[in-house]
């Protein structure tokens, strides 16, 4: 496959005129740079997913198993019985079109099948044709169609062009949630082995090794040891974190991505510094070393299998409660799924901050607190000494993650934290933040490299809002609370808004955090000189 080289000014010429042919008569065209490579056989086999095989999306023959139509239709029948959301959302859409221009993939591509309503119709049409009387009799006139290979290919192409961000669901008068439909679609595709490598790989790694990146225990420790060395260089303080320690008060779980690549690693350093300064009795786990859950992008069962490690490890180590790091979909899973799957967590206690004594009543069932809630509480109670001026070279804006905003409602906590650690904070336009926030464009396991055009198109609305504050206020730092954001927004910023860097919120906290016994800071968390700080030394 040739490298993706289209320039931003070319890519932003978006054709919004729908094709001449009706959508049902417009066969799917699988375009380069818009899809991800298929899953590897060994990854599917590791977790026991069916129909692992070699196949290529661009080839005519997808080597589908015999009777695949029956597999899909029986699967649909089963999902309709299991999920009221699915059953209802197949019936009640009136195609008012309110969702149409709310999807980042539609805004960035103009492809009508990326309008949430039409992406859902791809499946509804098959539902009507096979599960409703009107559809069976009236066929196409009622919007029904048969399940054919081309329909299946269309599903695969477009259900992997949805990041389950739920923005459409905010605007839908009936709350129809395309994320639910995409989840069902992917669950069905998975029955035929039509998974993608970028999801199946992390799933298999997470199942066997505890985290998406497949970091083995000693590697996790050595990664963190490197952070510890860097922290010592910056602060003069030697931190000694613990791993798999029984009897710790708190288990800390965060996405493994932050242990691996910039700028996520700086967020991880931030955690280490914050917890050290607080003298927190906590431990990392190498077994439950993943907060995120790529299983959530395959099947409900797989998501549950991966998620089980968090409570299991909390129980084994005998901690009192769990603290979770910055991540988007991780928190959708933790908020809306974990306790239902793997609870009740009756072996844990309702979380109480050992520093402030605050009891986090809102987590009394899951027993898991978000780092932004935890930090906001610390700041509110005056427990952190902060030197905001260390972030004065940054003009910061905040990107709400899809899942923490629309699947949780964590909006004010990170803002409160940021406003207390930065002097220069600017909001993006109101229709692009909070519950109306835009996806980074690469969520739900679509953060591969071979689908770069898709990612840049999907990332366009978010980047464009950043550009607005970049031009208006000189914003040069995009803060967030999500590991996938940190991994993907950097690429999107470099493409659409050069000059804007990406940081986790806790990195900025650590930058401002005045630690007991630290040397005078001349470096920020990225080991780059702190502007202003080195100059003041010279004056002295």
């Amino acid at each position: 496959m040739a490298k993706f080289t289209t320039k931003p000014n070319e890519l932003s010429k978006i054709n919004l005129i729908p094709p001449q042919t009706e959508w049902m008569d417009t066969p799917v065209e699988i375009k380069e740079h818009m899809f991800c490579h298929p899953a590897k056989i060994k990854d599917l086999e590791t977790v026991g997913f069916p129909n692992a095989r070699e196949w290529k999306p661009t080839e005519e023959d997808w080597k589908l198993p015999d009777n695949w139509e029956r597999t899909i239709l029986e699967g649909m029948q089963s999902l309709l019985k299991k999920y009221r959301s699915f059953s209802l959302f197949m019936d009640i859409c009136v195609r008012c079109g309110a969702c149409a221009d709310k999807c980042h993939f539609f805004i960035g591509s103009g492809d009508p099948k990326n309008m949430p309503v039409l992406r859902a119709e791809l499946m509804r049409s098959v539902y009507r044709g096979n599960f409703t009387l009107a559809g069976k009799i009236l066929k196409k006139i009622s919007g029904a169609r048969d399940l054919t290979v081309n329909v299946l290919k269309e599903w695969w192409y477009y259900f992997y062009q949805c990041t389950e961000c739920r923005r459409c669901s905010v605007f839908c008068p009936y709350g129809i949630d395309q994320a639910e439909i995409t989840m069902m679609g992917r669950e069905l595709l998975n029955l035929l082995g039509l998974n993608i490598g970028w999801i199946a790989g992390p799933v298999a790694a997470c199942y066997m090794k505890g985290n998406h990146l497949g970091l083995e225990p000693h590697t996790i420790k050595s990664s963190i040891d490197l952070f510890v060395d860097d922290i010592e260089t910056i602060t003069g303080i030697k931190i000694t974190p613990s791993f798999n320690r029984k009897g710790a008060e708190i288990l800390f779980v965060t996405p493994s991505g932050d242990l691996f690549a910039n700028p996520g690693t700086y967020t991880a350093m931030g955690y280490l510094m914050l917890f050290h300064e607080l003298g927190l009795d906590y431990t990392w786990s190498t077994y439950a070393s993943e907060g995120g859950n790529f299983g959530f992008f395959t099947t409900n069962e797989m998501a549950k299998r991966l998620n089980s490690k968090i409570y299991a490890e909390a129980k084994r180590l005998g901690v009192k409660w769990i603290l979770g790091g910055e991540c988007g979909h991780m928190w959708r899973v933790l908020s809306q799924y974990m306790d239902t799957w793997n609870g009740p967590a009756d072996f844990l206690e309702v979380p109480v901050s050992p520093i402030t004594g605050t009891k986090f009543e809102n987590t009394r069932a899951t027993k898991m607190v978000h780092i932004s809630e935890f930090t906001a509480d610390l700041i509110k109670n005056g427990k952190l000494k902060l030197d905001k001026s260390r972030n004065d070279h940054l003009k910061v804006t905040f990107h709400d993650s899809c899942n923490t905003s629309r699947g949780m409602g964590l909006l004010e906590e990170p803002r409160y934290v940021l406003k207390n650690v930065c002097n220069h904070f600017y909001e993006m336009p109101e229709n692009t933040i909070r519950e109306k926030t835009f996806c980074c464009g690469s969520g739900t396991g679509l953060n591969a490299s071979e689908n770069m055009e898709l990612r840049m198109r999907g990332g366009f609305p978010r980047a464009n809002a950043v550009k607005h504050v970049h031009d208006k206020h000189g914003v040069n730092m995009l803060a967030n609370i999500c590991a996938i954001d940190r991994a993907t927004l950097s690429a999107s910023m470099d493409y659409w808004v050069p000059g804007v860097a990406v940081a986790g919120t806790t990195e900025l906290v650590a930058n401002a955090l005045v630690m007991k016994g630290e040397i005078e800071r001349t470096l920020d968390i990225r080991l780059e000189p702190l502007p202003g700080k080195e100059a003041s030394e010279e004056v002295n």
Binding site: L80, K82, L88, V170, F171, K221, T286, E313, G409, E412
Partner: protein
């Protein structure tokens, strides 16, 4: 085709009823049997639908949160947009059902030079949707004067509010104009906006045309042909008391009106119109966001294969010991 088919369908319905009443004397069929059948179909169909939806459980607590969560006491929760208790869920649902809260959020996304994406307020869909649904409801309620011996007080109030402009004789009802305008707008928008046209099905045009036909015949009878109201009331009361009579001289327009309504009612449960009942069951709106506080139960939750810590330690014990990570078995 998508527009032609429903148009022809509605026209055919009208021709059928005109022919049936004018030439075949099928007044009893169109005035009594079909309305009864339609009402039974509507009621049974809606019940069937709701039972079918309700038969599928809600395995996870999946509200779409549209505001600040309940967390610490000093952070103000957005109780209507992100309710954590049933009371506020009722509030959220009431806003949704009576005022179309989510549609009110609607914004228009446009691309400008730059490239720059801009978001403009777009309340037309919300306004026409709300105008259509409310006027439909008010008109429906007004019709109860035909079905009750003594017109209920509430109906009087609705009528006088609806006709407070005091124009014409019989008095002009605002909702009659509003519903015609709203339905026409909703129809035109489906043709004029390229994206909306692209997603529209015959099943989207059909109910609009049907309702337009119902509203037009109603307006014609009230303001122009001046239907025999006493006769209509006789027919309605006959239906109501299960003692059907076919009065003379109520005119073919009434039969068209009644037949189109019957078709709409019978069609209702088998079409997208079931959103009327469905909206109440939508899990993204009717659930409290309290799954971190109260465990939500999935009735079909089942045990799954997991990779246990023991298996993990067996895989990595030596490597763990090498870097002094504690292990359970030496």
């Amino acid at each position: 085709m998508k527009i032609l088919f429903p148009f022809v369908a509605v026209m055919t319905l009208i021709i059928v009823v005109v022919a049936g009443v004018q030439f075949a004397n099928l007044q009893f069929l169109f005035g009594v049997i079909i309305p009864y059948a339609a009402l039974v179909t509507f009621t049974a169909g809606i019940i069937y639908r709701v039972i079918k939806w309700a038969g599928s459980p809600v395995p996870f607590c999946i509200p779409t949160t549209c505001g600040q969560q309940k967390s610490m006491p000093w952070i103000k929760q957005s109780k209507l947009e992100n309710p954590s208790s049933s009371l506020w869920v009722i509030g959220r649902m009431a806003l949704e059902v009576f005022f179309f809260r989510s549609l009110f959020r609607n914004i228009k996304t446009e691309m400008r030079e730059g490239p720059k994406v801009v978001y403009g307020s777009d309340k037309w869909l919300w306004m026409s949707g709300l105008a259509f649904h409310w006027s439909f409801l008010i008109i429906l309620l007004r019709h109860f004067r035909f079905f009750s011996v003594k017109v209920p007080y509430l109906i009087h109030v609705i009528e006088s509010l609806d006709s407070f402009l005091q124009i014409g004789a019989p008095l002009f009802y605002m909702t009659d104009a509003v519903i015609l305008a709203a339905v026409t707008y909703l129809f035109i928008r489906r043709i004029a906006l390229p994206q909306i046209k692209y997603i529209s099905l015959a099943a989207d045009y059909f109910p609009l045309l049907l309702i337009l036909g119902i509203a037009c015949t109603g307006v014609m009878m009230r303001y122009f042909t001046k239907v025999d109201v006493v006769g209509v009331k006789q027919l309605a009361m006959g239906l109501m008391t299960f003692n059907p009579v076919i009065p003379n001289g109520i005119g073919v327009l009434l039969y068209i009106h009644l037949f189109l309504i019957s078709v709409l009612f019978a069609y209702f449960p088998f079409s997208k119109l079931v959103h009327m009942a469905g909206v109440f069951l939508s899990p993204t709106r009717n659930m409290a966001n309290n799954s971190r506080m109260v465990r939500h139960i999935n009735p079909w939750n089942y045990p799954v294969h997991v990779h246990t810590y023991e298996e993990y330690e067996n895989d990595f014990r030596e490597k763990m010991k090498m870097v002094e990570i504690p292990v359970d078995k030496e």
